[in-house]
């Protein structure tokens, strides 16, 4: 068995809406049938007993080792707690080749799992030992390392529940929620609006207290001190006991509470001085430590926090008691569990020492022994949820404290006897406020109810009716994608939106080109969806990107499929038939939002059929007002866009929404260029679906030109010494048909076409191109360029020539090496009134060359 290529499909894809690993696996004849390998499955199960069942594929045939790889990869991920369920093995057309697809939660884990599975299978095959447990534990480590922590994870799940999309911006906990101009960010438990100043204030305890006192929040009196003598004087003045702590700092570092003697004070002073720049002495407030979690202007959760402690039984030593407590299975070592083991370290030893105890001491029955003077969960403390008990006045003080410091997410530390009463009634106080508070104690408290903290944070960032999404319009199809994308973007701009778009020739946002080249993949789509200045996204979604990585988005508002026709690029990546292609293009329709639309060409049966998988609504467009599909759709009250005499009409619920005269749409050349009518109908349907108004549509259609600047290489019309020159990038039979239709409608004395064939098409597709052109052109200039995409020299030219055999109209054929030479040759033969279609290959260079020639002619 050979695993050839492993890809991560990072968005909805051909196989699943979830993220998945896709591997191309080749099995030899024996590996294709498990029964050929006696003892293999037994050995495999001996090595990895938890391997899930190897169910037979539905077709009844067996997928052999490829399927074992699939199941093992899934089982390994399930074993470490990844929430994954989907897997599939599909036989490719080539015998013995399979596509193995397994869902992943974390890409690194998915990739490692398939690697482990492969080695496991090899070991089982050879009868070699394999330590699967060690591998699983390594896999678990990777998972712990790369997955989101529990705090961030809770916020992300809350976002997903509300349908808010998210991207991880870094390997750490920096997350973007929503898209474009509606995006928000969090990092751990901080929001993007968390002010850096508020954080600095929270770090400065003295300043914090000053501000809180001003707002009427009870705080313990106290002040900073310079040295131990000063500290003792202040302590006596405040009245013992006192608390000694560093002025800067957090997480309870260097804090000593309940200091009663000068000796304790000196020790406390030293540890505080080590942890921060300056030491504060303040009145000790007796009572328990509470943490109030304030989000926005609400108290969301409250927990009582207790330091790690053991209770004596008069029999066991402290060490034994601690060991006993640590045996609690809920106590883990990291941050993931609701309890953490009590560490016996220097701090614990010092704490025991302060109580005149050692680890060997046997405390009396019922005697509590504290092992650390801070209640953090990560050092063995416990948290008990008390949210429902907090007195409204006390809650109000916590909220005021957060607001006074300026924190939208704030952990307010309160010390008091009971949260059932106001602070003022029990001389309790706020001792500290924390930016970026830990959420674990509220999500999974050691005792009591977990609170929906993530939800509260998401609600603070996104109002109830917002999901952070901007309108996303995905466009695919065999021909017309780029013009449609450009036109949609132009129309959206008329509506006052800042549009980001991806096309096969670049990524654009805010009028700037961010990247050049073929940018119709998901990476470019993500760039647009992450851009802070984008109000709407129009994404050309080509087959390559869907195959390679999946979609850039979880779902879109509108999916436009211009057409499928006879297809293009067939034969690549196991997409061999036009039906396969339709299944691939279907992915964007399958991932339309339930409130969204699929815009489909009713004149293209393959395309129209995709409407059945759309979770949202379907808008059909058609050039034929009698198209039965479209007519039915309209009769059902559903939205349709069609050509009615000399106008494009939109009808919804039986009512005409708008009527746009072709005469006012220069792109269609007064209705003569049929495929541009299709593109226009697709674009206006998509814009209607995102509520672009008629005024904007009219203005946009009137001002849109198919010129070199706005849609380079898409039916660009140029005037060369009185002859019409059309430059187009079309390279498949459907494009040829559309071009021939358009060209036939244009008056011309003599028609010339310049064409090369791209080598990565099927032979018949290359031949078909010239077969179609032969019906409409007098002269055909065939050229061959540097890039032959895997073909022999002259091979493509030969195929093109074959297509011209017996051509209806073509009388002259010429073969030329080099694109520019071919262009120049064609131009040299033109007389006024002639028409010349140039099918360019190197779009940018050829257009520049043409422009230059036109400029020279006009000079």
């Amino acid at each position: 068995m050979q695993v050839d290529r492993v890809r991560a499909l990072r968005g909805p894809n051909l196989w699943t809406r979830r993220t998945a690993i896709e591997a191309i696996v080749t099995c030899d004849d024996t590996e294709r049938d498990l029964s050929q390998f006696s003892g293999f499955e037994e050995r495999l199960r001996a090595l990895y007993p938890r391997l899930q069942s190897l169910a037979s594929p539905p077709e009844g045939s067996t997928n052999g080792f490829a399927q074992v790889l699939e199941v093992a990869t899934l089982s390994l991920q399930c074993d470490i707690g990844c929430p994954v369920t989907f897997s599939r093995t599909a036989a490719a057309p080539d015998p013995g080749v399979y596509q193995v697809v397994v869902e992943y939660d974390q890409e690194d884990v998915g990739r490692s799992a398939i690697d482990i599975a492969e080695r496991l299978i090899n070991a089982a095959r050879e009868g070699l030992p394999f330590d699967v447990e060690a591998e699983i534990s390594r896999l678990r480590e990777i998972y712990e390392d790369v997955r989101l922590g529990p705090s961030t994870g809770s916020i992300v799940s809350a976002a997903l529940e509300r349908g808010i999309p998210f991207y991880r911006l870094s390997e750490g906990s920096l997350i973007q929620f929503g898209w474009g101009s509606r995006q928000r960010r969090i990092q751990a438990a901080e929001m993007d609006r968390t002010s850096a100043i508020a954080q600095s204030i929270a770090q400065d305890k003295q300043l914090t207290k000053q501000l809180l006192a001003a707002a009427g929040v009870p705080v313990p009196e106290g002040q900073p001190v310079d040295d131990i003598n000063d500290a003792w004087d202040i302590a006596c003045a405040l009245g013992l006991p006192v608390v000694v702590k560093p002025q800067d700092g957090n997480h309870g570092r260097g804090v000593t509470v309940n200091v009663e003697t000068r000796e304790q004070l000196e020790a406390g002073f030293r540890s505080a001085a080590e942890a921060g720049s300056r030491v504060i002495i303040e009145r000790y407030i007796p009572g328990s430590d509470y943490r109030m979690l304030v989000i926005g202007d609400k108290l969301i959760a409250a927990a009582r926090r207790e330091p790690p402690l053991v209770t004596g039984d008069g029999v066991h030593t402290i060490q034994e008691l601690v060991d006993e407590v640590n045996r609690d299975p809920r106590r883990g070592t990291g941050h993931a569990t609701s309890l953490t083991r009590i560490p016996i370290d220097d701090i614990a030893m010092a704490c025991l020492h302060n109580q005149n105890l050692t680890l060997d001491a046997v405390p009396a029955l019922g005697q509590p022994v504290v092992l650390r003077n801070n209640a953090n969960l990560s050092t063995g403390g416990t948290a008990t949820d008390v949210t429902d008990q907090v007195h409204p006045d006390l809650a109000a003080r916590a909220v005021t404290a957060a607001q006074m410091v300026g924190l939208e997410i704030c952990g307010v530390d309160v010390v008091c006897q009971s949260v059932l009463r106001p602070l003022e009634d029990q001389s309790g106080g706020v001792v500290e406020v924390n930016a970026a508070p830990g959420l674990r104690m509220h999500l999974t408290p050691s005792y009591g109810t977990g609170r929906r903290v993530g939800e509260a944070i998401i609600n603070e960032m996104f109002a109830a009716d917002q999901d952070g999404r901007i309108p996303v319009i995905a466009v695919t199809g065999t021909n017309g994608k780029t013009t449609t994308v450009r036109l949609i973007a132009h129309l959206l701009e008329q509506q006052g939106l800042r549009v980001g778009l991806t096309t096969t020739d670049g990524v654009y946002a805010g009028g700037r080109q961010l990247d050049a080249g073929d940018c119709s993949g998901p990476r470019s789509g993500k760039t647009i969806l992450m851009h802070p200045d984008v109000d709407a996204a129009v994404l050309e979604t080509a087959r390559g990107g869907i195959l390679r990585e999946g979609l850039a988005f979880d779902r879109c508002q509108v999916a436009v499929i211009t057409n499928i026709g006879a297809g293009d690029h067939l034969g690549l990546n196991y997409i061999t038939t036009v039906e396969d292609l339709a299944v691939l293009k279907r992915v964007i329709v399958q991932n339309v939002s339930p409130t969204g639309y699929a815009v489909l060409n009713a004149d293209d049966p393959m395309c129209a059929r995709l409407g059945s998988v759309c979770p949202g609504s379907v808008v059909f467009f058609s050039r034929d007002r009698a198209n039965p599909l479209m007519v039915t759709h309209r009769a059902q009250g559903r939205p349709v866009v069609y050509l009615d005499d000399d106008a494009i009409v939109c009808v919804n619920q039986g009512e005409e929404v708008f009527r746009l005269a072709l005469a006012d749409i220069p792109l269609t050349m007064g209705g003569r260029v049929g495929f541009q009518i299709d593109n226009t109908m697709a674009a206006v349907a998509a814009c209607w679906a995102v509520n672009v108004d008629t005024v904007a549509l009219r203005a946009g259609l009137a001002s849109f030109q198919s010129d070199v600047a706005s849609t380079p290489g898409r039916f660009n019309l140029l005037d060369y010494r009185g002859a019409t020159v059309i430059a187009d990038y079309g390279h498949n039979p459907d494009a040829m048909k559309a071009l021939v239709d358009a060209v036939t409608a244009l008056p011309a004395k003599r028609r010339t076409v310049v064409i090369s064939g791209a080598g990565d098409r099927r032979d018949e597709d290359i031949r078909d191109q010239t077969r179609i052109l032969g019906t409409a052109f007098d002269t055909v200039l065939l050229y061959q360029d540097a890039c032959q995409r895997g073909r022999e020299d002259g091979e493509v030219l030969g195929l093109l020539r074959e297509g011209l055999v017996g051509a209806e109209r073509t009388r002259e054929i010429e073969e030329i090496r080099g694109e520019f030479i071919a262009i120049d040759r064609a131009l040299s033969t033109l007389a006024p009134g002639d028409l010349c279609l140039i099918l360019i290959d190197q779009v940018q260079e050829a257009l520049e060359h043409l422009n230059q020639r036109v400029a020279e002619a006009n000079a």
């Binding site: 920096l174 901080e190 600095s200």
Partner: protein
């Protein structure tokens, strides 16, 4: 000649508007003893010695209102208190904190003066006053005085106590925009505006500066990764942790390279244009002294620029200038540079920054000189003056580059940022010339852009203030200031109640305590500066009622710079103030008129027309004056109403609100003491509270509240 002395009996810090000045000042009570008999012209050589030490005194205008005025007074003979005022002012000027206001006034006691000097910073001005005393005594007695020592001691104090230059430039701009500033004693945090209108800065960050954005800016690698996605040219680079991988990365990226710590800022441990393995290794070790993770990135050839972006606008850009120093065979390059800079850049830190700057280091390396080298005569060294101390180039930056810088800052998510750019020609688009954005910095140094030789406009500070307070936002909430010698506490408490009923979140500080809405947050006297300040920095309030007792006004000043409404109830001479020299009603009136002085021009002074001294304050009001009287429509009221003014008076049991010729009569229940309600009703009207609510509140004001608010009923 017997030994003269100047005794400072008392120093009062007036933290707000006071009887001497609108601005905070210190007031020293000074006993000049027998110097009362020795005006300056009678002390031999004194004036010459004094002016020789402080030649700046020649510029003081004094009562002659022309430079030289004060020296003329010295020569004609003036008294030591007055001299102490001017010398204190001059010393503050010498250490770079000019304040421009002082007063010296005699008191009822012969030889005892009030010397008042506006505060630069409380402790600093106090120290300057004490130094001024020493200096004057030394000049009188013809004794030596270590002026330089004293000045440097004071400068050091100023450095410790005063705001840093970034903060100071913003504060200065806020002052110019008349935004109130809370005098929070904190090195970095400054609170602008009052109550809910409060905004904050901390050096060059605002309360809108996102903590996440700040951490993205600090993580240079992450920041670059984000920028690159949006087509912003950045130098390619990668993170390394070992020397070997560093060299590998350097070769991959293409030499020369830059090496710097992955986090960190301000050019620390940054090495540029490294070509060889040894250079790379050394630079790597240097960077690792700061942080284990080190960035190696492609070196971009060109000049360095720093663009300052505030609220999505590029407000300043500084760029490289070069200057040359010529050796003289004696001085080190360091000394020569310091001298050279002194002409254009006053502060030495500039020279230090220059010496440590990676670009400068690179230039020196290329010229094979070191800062400690003594340059031979005629040896010429050319130094780039890096962006941090460069010249203003904003007008010549290509517009695309401005857009890129703004986009970069938006991507990181900062509201204020410094964008470092390297370009060969800043007037041309970046990409075509291979230039790049090197870094986006949070909390950028503003002095970079302030130190434009000869540039005194504070465009940077103003841009930040405009960002915090867009056009039309004053940062103010309605503040009612109340002072006088009767009823002030009950008026404050009742107004608080009224505003509460009117739906305001009101803070009240008055004689009976400090209140938020109806909740007492602090018992005890709150009719003072501290309690008033505490209310005003509370972000939850949108209106404040602050009583200031005459004693507090005398000893502390008002807790706000200006107020919407100033109420003065009555004048008397409480015995408690006699020891501060307030014994006459006129003196009290002079003190209390401060309350009227600070009323905003769109505000209202509410005055008791029945007290002639209070009534007389009307002439000091910038805004409207509203009178009230329990005597009915008195002559003064009639005059005011005839001019279309507003007044409130009693007519039998009825309260009459009169506006010109229009009147609204409201009969009060017999249980209400109508005359007590007059000032409250007038003020409430001034605040725009509807009559019905005013009457309702007066009638419904619970007896318990009155008890609580008036510790001394009657």
């Amino acid at each position: 000649m017997s030994r003269h002395d100047i005794r400072i009996l008392d120093i009062t810090v007036l933290r707000g508007p006071n009887r001497w000045s609108y601005k905070p000042a210190i007031e020293a009570l000074v006993d000049i003893g027998d110097l009362e008999e020795y005006p300056s012209n009678t002390l031999p050589g004194f004036v010459d010695r004094l002016v020789a030490w402080l030649p700046g005194l020649r510029a003081h205008e004094c009562s002659y209102e022309a430079p030289g005025g004060f020296v003329k007074r010295l020569e004609e003979g003036t008294w030591t208190g007055h001299i102490l005022e001017h010398v204190t002012l001059e010393i503050q000027t010498r250490i770079g904190h000019p304040v421009g206001f002082g007063r010296a006034r005699s008191t009822a006691t012969t030889g005892v003066y009030h010397v008042v000097v506006r505060i630069a910073q409380e402790d600093l001005t106090r120290a300057c006053l004490l130094k001024a005393r020493e200096l004057i005594l030394a000049a009188i007695h013809d004794e030596p005085f270590d002026l330089q020592g004293a000045l440097s001691e004071l400068r050091e104090l100023a450095d410790r106590k005063c705001l840093g230059p970034s903060t100071a430039s913003i504060v200065e701009a806020a002052r110019a925009a008349r935004i109130p500033i809370a005098p929070l004693e904190h090195g970095n945090l400054v609170l602008f505006g009052l109550g809910v209108r409060q905004r904050r800065i901390w050096t060059a960050e605002t309360d809108r500066t996102s903590a996440i954005a700040e951490s993205i800016a600090q993580d240079k690698d992450l920041a670059k990764e984000l920028l690159v996605r949006y087509g912003i040219p950045v130098p390619e680079g990668r993170i390394v942790r070992k020397v070997d991988t560093t060299w590998e990365a350097a070769e991959d990226l293409g030499l020369p390279v830059v090496i710097k710590p992955a986090e960190g800022s301000r050019g620390v441990a940054v090495s540029l244009a490294l070509e060889t393995y040894d250079e790379v290794a050394e630079a790597f070790r240097l960077a690792q002294t700061v942080q284990n993770a080190v960035i190696v990135e492609r070196f971009i050839e060109g000049d360095e620029y720093r663009l300052l972006v505030v609220n999505n606008e590029v407000v300043a850009a500084t760029g490289a200038i070069q200057f040359t120093v010529k050796g003289n065979g004696r001085d080190t390059l360091r000394t020569l540079v310091a001298h050279e800079l002194d002409g254009t850049h006053a502060d030495l830190w500039v020279a230090d920054a220059l010496i440590d700057h990676p670009t400068v280091k690179l230039a020196l390396k290329r010229q094979a000189v070191h800062f400690n080298n003594v340059l031979t005569a005629d040896q010429v060294v050319t130094l780039p003056c890096p962006a941090k101390v460069g010249k203003d180039v904003l007008a010549s930056v290509h517009p695309d580059t401005l857009d890129l810088a703004r986009l970069a800052v938006r991507i990181v998510g900062l509201d204020i940022a410094g964008v470092d750019i390297v370009a060969k020609d800043i007037g041309q688009p970046l990409v075509a010339q291979g230039g790049a954005i090197i870094e986006v910095n949070a909390g950028p140094s503003l002095p970079t852009h302030l130190r434009q030789p000869g540039d005194i406009s504070n465009t940077v500070g103003s841009a930040v203030v405009r960002h915090l307070f867009p056009e039309g936002e004053t940062g103010r909430i309605p503040v009612v200031g109340i002072t006088g010698c009767s009823d002030t506490t009950s008026i404050a408490a009742m107004l608080g109640f009224l505003l509460h009923l009117h739906g305001q979140s009101v803070g009240v500080a008055c004689g009976s305590g400090t209140f938020l809405g109806q909740r007492c947050i602090r018992r005890g006297d709150g009719a003072n500066w501290t309690a008033g300040q505490r209310v005003l920095i509370n972000r939850t309030i949108n209106a404040a009622v602050l009583e200031t007792s005459p004693a507090s006004l005398l000893r502390e000043g008002l807790p706000y710079d200006r107020c919407q409404i100033g109420v003065v109830t009555a004048i008397s001479t409480p015995p408690a103030l006699a020891r501060f020299g307030i014994t006459e009603a006129e003196q009290m009136a002079h003190l209390l008129r401060t309350q009227v002085d600070v009323v905003l021009s769109d505000g209202v002074a509410v005055l008791n027309a029945d007290d002639p001294l209070v009534l007389a304050m009307a002439e000091y009001a910038d805004g409207e004056v509203m009178l009230y009287s329990r005597e009915g429509q008195t002559e003064s009221l009639q005059q005011a109403l005839a001019k279309g003014g507003r007044a409130v008076y009693l007519e039998g049991d009825a309260l009459v609100f009169a506006h010109g010729e229009t009147t609204h009569r409201h009969l009060l229940a017999p249980c209400v003491n109508a005359s007590d309600c007059l000032p409250t009703a007038t003020t409430a009207w001034a605040l725009g509270i509807p009559f019905d609510l005013i009457i309702g509140a007066i009638v419904g004001y619970p007896a318990a509240m009155i008890d609580q608010a008036s510790p001394h009923p009657g």
